[in-house]
Amino acid sequence: MIWSWIPQNWSLIWQLTWENAKLGVLSALYGLIISLPLGIIAARWRWVYPPTLAVVNVVYAVPSLALWIALIPAFGLTDTTVIIGLTAFSLCVILPNVVEGLRAVPAPVRQAATAMGYGATRRLVMVELPLAAPVIIGGLRVGVVASISLASLGQLIGVSSLGYLFIDGLQRSFPTEIYVGLVCVIVLAVICDLLLVGVRRVLTPWQPRRQVALAQWPGLQRVALRRGAA
């Protein structure tokens, strides 16, 4: 480990981290933006969900690198190629959580909202989406962490990201550079993950802390709600 390498290359490290963050975060956000309407439709019209889930499962199985390669003829070796591929990946992680989250809203809550005179749209925005938020954000957390990590692979098709430090480090047999790349990717992902935990706390202040910790995970949320209902 040659520590002096880090300050000497500070601007490079910073630039690569920024590019990597942009690729990963944008992909996860686009994934969320597409998942929300699709998830709302799939939660409302139940027959839509099984075929959607089948498609999602197949897309999820397509390796990001392979998807990028398939996109090269259309979009070249660009950020767009990487972002489209990672958006597809995040979508597969987030969409099931949107559907699960909306479906897990207890029927009495929905009925109460209706009885208070809420229309379908207002009920969705004011009641159902806020209650589903922890589960949706749980999916988003997985999406953003995985996207940031996968974005480093973008360097294989020449798209600038923290993967540069791995590849350059290998060519020069220089472990310091590889360590820096690893640490930057992990720290970046963990920061985004924690930011989302913060967002969830702000959005769902009614949830007690301990339960919140459990509710981040869709399965637990389901279990928690099922147990609450029983």
């Binding site: 099984p50 889930l53 499962n57 197949v58 999820y60 199985a61 397509v62 390796p63 990001s64 690198l65 392979a66 390669i69 398939a70 996109l71 090269i72 003829p73 992680v93 099931p96 957390r141 997985v142 962490v145 995985a146 940031i148 990590s149 996968l150 480093s152 692979l153 294989l156 098709i157 923290l162 993967g163 430090l165 791995f166 590849i167 480090g169 290998l170 047999s173 220089f174 472990p175 590889i178 360590y179 790349g181 690893l182 990717v185 992990i186 970046l188 992902a189 963990v190 993950d193 910790a213 459990l214 981040q216 995970w217 869709p218 399965g219 637990l220 389901r222 279990v223 147990r227």
Partner: protein, 228 residues
């Protein structure tokens, strides 16, 4: 020409199916890189996930850790080990095991933790020992989610074994990495197509496995209870 025409032309060129480093050989090498890491990850992940799910101890910690764990970039870890260990087995084995563990643990944990408390009480009430409760009641009920975890891990490993070629190892990534290096899109597209086909084959395999080992009543739950 589109991706598919490039890929199709390359895959159907008979010369690519013969000799050393041909398609069949690289597929076998690729599967070789897939099986061992999965076995090891399953041996670590399933007992750990089941134990956490059964006792409920350490659940919050492990669940959060598993998410941060996903942040570890496989390419970086692979290259780091390559610099230190060269071409040893551990160089490709460790990153792929690391990759496969989170989905296996999370799903094993969720499967066991999600067993209906009434069922657990009934098992206890019948005088089953903790070991019997786990092996005869909780594991069979958790089986659909266990399979989902193994499927996700398998898909991850099949997809990621591709980058083993970056440090000079074999597998289907060989075609992709070499093609990218020489600006030859044919093998790149062909290699990518074969990896996708392999991944879809894994999906099909697990669908069959699901039919064979999971009781009918539990199947629906597994299809809807997907978590990664």
């Amino acid at each position: 020409m589109s991706f598919f025409s490039y890929a199709w032309d390359w895959v159907t060129t008979s010369a690519n199916w013969q000799g050393s480093d041909s398609i069949p050989q690289q597929i076998i090498a690729h599967l070789g890189y897939t099986v061992l890491p999965l076995l090891i990850a399953a041996l670590i992940g399933i007992p750990l996930g089941v134990a956490i799910g059964h006792t409920g101890r350490g659940a919050v910690l492990v669940v959060n850790l598993a998410n941060a764990w996903r942040a570890i970039p496989t390419l970086g870890l692979l290259i780091l080990l390559a610099v230190y260990l060269g071409f040893s087995i551990l160089t490709w084995l460790i990153p792929l095991v690391v990759l496969a563990i989170p989905p296996i643990i999370i799903n094993a944990y969720e499967g066991v933790a999600g067993v209906d408390p009434d069922v657990k009480d009934a098992a206890k009430g019948m005088g089953m020992t903790p070991w019997q409760q786990v092996t005869r009641v909780e594991l069979p009920i958790a089986l659909p989610l266990l399979l989902v975890g193994l499927r996700t891990a398998t898909i991850f490993v099949v997809a990621t074994a591709t980058i083993a070629a970056y440090i000079g190892l074999g597998g289907l990534g060989r075609f992709i990495i070499d093609g990218l290096a020489s600006n030859d899109y044919g093998p790149v597209a062909g290699g990518a197509l074969l990896v996708v086909l392999l991944a879809v084959l894994v999906l099909a395999l697990f669908a069959v496995l699901n039919r064979l080992v999971v009781p009918v009543g539990l199947r629906k739950q597994a299809e809807l209870g997907r978590t990664e």
